[in-house]
């Protein structure tokens, strides 16, 4: 079984979701739960994927499925810390055109501060 570890940190104005391990068809449920909770809070979200070593199409589907809802909520999702392989997966699918992807958390925070 592949393992995934997800931490959900709620700060004053933003939430941080830290994902590490592998996200495949079975473990994507955990990611979905975390994202669902975060989207409910209606504050901006930084997904820190620096610990993520593999993401399958089902995992990508989780991020994708909340795009419309977050747009309606006026929420922003910023991904950061993607390793080369994971970034490539996002790029091939074209999700890099829809999501903001930053190198690290600090840049992601700056990005959010700039847009507010």
């Amino acid at each position: 079984m592949t393992m995934v570890d997800i931490k959900h940190i709620v700060e004053e104005k933003i939430q941080i979701i830290e994902v590490s391990g592998d996200v495949d068809a079975s473990s994507s449920i955990h990611l979905d739960n975390a994202m669902s909770k975060a989207v409910e809070q209606k504050t901006n979200i930084i997904a820190d994927l620096s610990g993520l070593s593999y993401i399958s199409s089902a995992g990508l589907g989780v991020f994708m499925s909340y795009l419309q809802e977050m747009e309606n909520n006026n929420q922003q999702l910023i991904l950061c810390g993607l390793n080369e392989k994971v970034l490539e997966v996002f790029q091939i699918l074209g999700l890099d055109q829809l999501l903001i992807i930053k190198d690290n958390k600090e840049e992601a925070r700056l990005q959010l501060d700039a847009t507010v």
């Binding site: 199409s57 989780v62 074209g94 829809l98």
Partner: protein, 681 residues
């Protein structure tokens, strides 16, 4: 030559009769020649011994094998054989007395003839009884017992031979042999284990039959005594060691058997109970036959438990039965009373069990309790567990205080456990059947899906196509297809539904429908993808998307127009440049943006192709396949694998790449769907 038992029986009885006739003839002839002499010739004694031997052999075969008898049948045989022998001897005596005045009958020749007839009868009775006693003694065989019995039988044969010497009781030598045999017989007579297997009624019948045996015995003794007093008798039968030992042994065993059965009469109900418990246990152990339900197991459990512990009332409640409706059975008790008892129970363990909230391994010490304010004084409660989860409870009630002893608790515990196993097996079998059905369904789905994917295509010399596709599960989400638009144009698609398994397979078939309908309306790659995205937006699950690449091959202009919808970049080998590369173009997966703005993300590319060019299309299962070190097969290995084989026909390229892939992954199971398509112009 092997003789059948039946034939052996017939031969031995005929020989026995012949020996008896010869013996009788010899004795009477001897008496006729030497009147007044009472020492019979050796020859006649030999025939007498042979007569005993053949009679013994006859009864050995006549009395059925130990496995097929029951004790009463055996005793019945003894009774009947003895009865016939006695009746015949009585008839002889009566006719003798009736014609007592006839001078002819007074002749010693005639009286000896009748005497010999009587000897035949007595011998028959003794031999048949002896064989049956043997069967009874050897009912529970042990090695020692078998050895003792063989010794006894050999000693008896020895006695038979000894008798030929002419010594008879009370001769001291003969007496010693007799006592030796008697002691052996005494040791053997204490094997009476069969008595324990009789129920009360059978014990009484056995006593009756064995008693009658002693009556016959006494009758024959008196008869022979009478003859003994007649001086004219040629052969003194009853003082032969063999006969005396056998007769004594039969009597001793009969007396001891009667006594043992008498003393066992009061305990026979215990044995009957044990047998019944064993039968109930067997009924519970049998797996539930087809067409029967779990309910029957619960009923059997309730009834056998009640009778095993003499409960006055009982109930069983199963909350989580197979059909998920609760089952309750009450015996000698009303539901209202059950509710009252349940409320009055103070013991916490019992309360838990009754509420089906029990979750530990039962502790047999604490499952009984005394009741107040009820006609029942004691209650015993058992949890019914299936796969370590309590599904219900069994409660037994008694009108006396402390009515359940430790043994009863153990018995019910065994019953409940066995019932649980039966129910568990039953459920597992049903689950297995269900799974089997699902497997069949999936096999059908797999066949249907295979038919959705074309294998080889006739493209009239424009290009050649070979494909390889395998799903990680029975069905998968990979799709490729080709559609002939007209003589010059072919539309081709490769697609990969997110996720895998059945849900992916459904979306894959939707994609096939979309391809075949939309590609007939528009062959423009961008328009095709926008239409497909629109169509899929309405029917894809929220978290699902499909990546794909659409190609339009036009042989009249030798152009290839294509768009990528988030699918892995296609690998293209250009034969003129002798170089392969991945197409780098923008795109977005289908179903990710479910509105008109999708068109912004679609890009159309166009290239000219020439003969020998190759397109490699694949799904991410190929590039993301990992080996034991968790390294991915990746784009570079795929490219290298193609570069080695660009001159080969497409089928061999396909096979080569697949071989490279499996060599790389080793024995690792595939965890995604693999699809590889080779198009060579």
């Amino acid at each position: 030559m092997v003789l059948s038992d039946k034939l052996k029986m017939r031969i031995s009885i005929i020989l026995a009769i012949v020996c008896w006739l010869v013996l009788t003839y010899l004795d009477i002839f001897f008496l006729y020649k030497n009147p007044g002499n009472s020492q019979p010739p050796l020859l006649s004694r030999i025939f007498e011994a042979l007569f005993f031997a053949f009679l013994y052999i006859y009864f050995r075969y006549a009395i059925v094998k130990a496995e097929n008898f029951n004790f009463l049948d055996l005793l019945w045989r003894v009774f009947v054989t003895g009865l016939i022998a006695t009746l015949v001897s009585l008839l002889i005596t009566m006719s003798y007395k009736f014609f007592g005045n006839n001078t002819l009958l007074k002749s010693s020749l005639i009286s000896n003839f009748f005497y010999h007839l009587n000897i035949g009868m007595v011998s028959t009775f003794l031999m048949s009884t002896f064989i049956i006693w043997k069967k009874l003694i050897l009912y529970q065989k042990s090695k020692l017992l078998m050895q003792l019995w063989s010794l006894f039988e050999y000693s008896m044969i020895g006695a038979l031979l000894f008798d030929l010497l002419g010594y008879q009781i009370p001769d001291p030598v003969a007496g010693a042999v007799y006592i030796f045999l008697l002691l052996q017989g005494l040791v053997l007579t204490f094997n009476l284990k069969w008595v324990a297997y009789l129920n009360f009624k059978q014990k009484w019948k056995s006593i009756l039959f064995i008693f009658l045996v002693t009556v016959y015995w006494w009758h024959f003794l008196r008869l022979l005594m009478e003859y003994r007093n007649q001086p004219a008798i040629v052969d003194i039968f009853m003082t032969k060691v063999f006969i005396a030992a056998m007769a004594s042994f039969i009597l001793i065993y009969a007396i001891i058997a009667i006594l043992v059965i008498l003393f066992n009469l009061p305990t026979s109900s215990v044995f009957e109970r044990k047998i019944k418990e064993a039968m109930d246990f067997q009924r519970l152990s049998q797996s539930i036959p087809a067409g029967q339900t779990e309910e029957q197991v619960y009923e059997i459990l309730l009834d056998s438990s009640m009778s095993a512990v003499f409960a006055d009332a009982a109930w069983i409640e199963i909350e989580a039965a197979a059909e998920s409706k609760p089952i309750t059975y009450y015996r000698n008790i009303e539901q209202a009373e059950v509710q009252e008892i349940k409320e009055s129970v103070k013991n916490s363990t019992l309360k838990k069990i009754l509420k089906t909230e029990f979750d530990q391994v039962s502790n047999p010490q604490k499952i009984t309790a005394s009741l107040k304010n009820s006609m029942y004084k004691t209650i015993m409660v058992f949890p019914v567990m299936v796969q370590n989860v309590q599904i219900g409870s069994l409660a037994l009630l008694k009108e006396v205080n402390e009515g359940f002893n430790r043994e009863m608790i153990n018995i019910i515990n065994t019953f409940v456990n066995q019932a649980s196993i039966s129910v568990e097996n039953f459920r597992l079998i049903n689950e297995a059947l269900e799974n089997e059905r699902y497997k069949e369904e999936l096999k059908i789905a797999k066949r249907v899906q295979k038919a959705l994917l074309p294998e080889n295509l006739n493209t009239e010399g424009i290009f050649e196509l070979h494909a390889y596709s395998v799903a990680a599960d029975e069905v998968g989400g990979d799709y490729y297809d080709i559609l002939k638009i007209n003589d010059e144009q072919y539309a081709f698609i490769i697609a990969d539904v997110s996720g895998k398994g059945t849900s992916a397979a459904f979306h894959m078939s939707q994609m096939k429908g979309i391809f075949h309908s939309v590609a007939r309306i528009t062959t423009d790659p961008k328009e095709f993808l926008v239409h497909a995205n629109n169509a899929l937006s309405a029917c894809l699950e929220k978290t699902s998307f499909i990546t794909g690449s659409f190609f339009l091959i036009d042989s009249s202009t030798k152009t290839l127009r294509f768009s990528r919808a988030g699918h892995c970049p296609s690998l293209y080998y250009c034969s003129s440049e002798k170089e392969s590369r991945y197409f780098q173009n923008k795109g977005l997966g289908l179903g990710i943006i479910r509105n008109i703005s999708y068109s912004r993300y679609v890009q159309v590319n166009e290239i000219n192709y020439s003969e020998g060019d190759i397109i490699i299309l694949y799904t991410d299962g190929i590039t993301e396949a990992v080996n034991a070190n968790n390294d991915q097969f990746g784009y570079d290995r795929l490219k290298n694998s193609l570069d080695k084989r660009t001159d080969l026909p497409p089928e061999e390229i396909k096979q080569g790449i697949i071989d490279d892939l499996y060599q790389f992954t080793g024995l690792n199971n595939l965890n995604d769907d693999y699809t590889l398509v080779i198009i060579k112009f």
